[in-house]
Point group: C2
Chain length 139, copies 2
């Protein structure tokens, strides 16, 4: 059993359960953003749909994962930088490949700041770029 997984759960005062371990390990092994459906499919019949939903919700609240918007729906990805319940910093860019369909975080890129019209105040930004990823544009 992965020690990182155990530590992550402990650090966020979450009980160590099989479902949580498996979901965290799935996020670690696949490196792209995953939807609820991806997880359900990947974990087989091992856990109830509802449990997966609740686990994702818990991880979101604890800052272990973050949402990734997509034209096809909601996906989730591990927070690499250290996030807490009250301090998130997800101003990195999300890239969705129109060829292979995978979505991942471009951690190295940050959203440039933008001058908003008078009176507008930004709290959160979310940039999704769609196109060809490095692997797919080689062909």
């Amino acid at each position: 059993m992965n020690q990182f997984v155990k530590n992550t759960l402990k650090d966020h005062s979450l009980r160590n359960t099989l479902c949580r371990e498996d979901i965290l390990e799935t996020f670690l092994s696949r490196e792209v953003a995953l939807s609820h459906g991806d997880l359900e499919h990947s974990l087989g019949e091992k856990f109830d749909r509802v449990t997966i939903y609740r686990t994702l919700k818990t991880f979101l609240e604890k800052g272990i994962i973050h949402k990734v918007l997509d034209e096809e729906g909601m996906r989730y990805a591990l927070c690499k930088e250290r996030c807490t319940e009250h301090n998130h910093h997800h101003d990195h860019v999300h890239f969705k490949c129109s060829e292979c369909g995978q979505t991942n975080c471009l951690e190295s890129l940050h959203i440039p700041s933008i001058q908003l019209p008078a009176g507008y105040h930004a709290q959160e930004m979310n940039l999704l770029i769609q196109g060809l990823c490095a692997a797919c544009s080689e062909n």
Copy 2:
């Protein structure tokens, strides 16, 4: 009956039907991005849910409206600049107010260009900013 509505339908070789007229007029009168549910609610029992879905799909394909991503789901907004079936330019910013919940297009702002990692090629960009809109930040 609004002449703009009739022209818009004609220009895109779409038949002039009550449902299409009403949906276009709803987009014109409310100035924010609307979800399917908003339209369904706003139009009452006048049309079948399926018809509204199909109308939105048609308008999307014709370039009359465009998608607006949102943590809560999909919304749609009128294309102000002239878009055609094959030539869209929606690099403007979408703003969602966390107070009043309304989402609108900041047509004046464009997404700054970003240097992607080697091998990545962008086709489409989508920036959603969440925060307080001008009206809500006055209070």
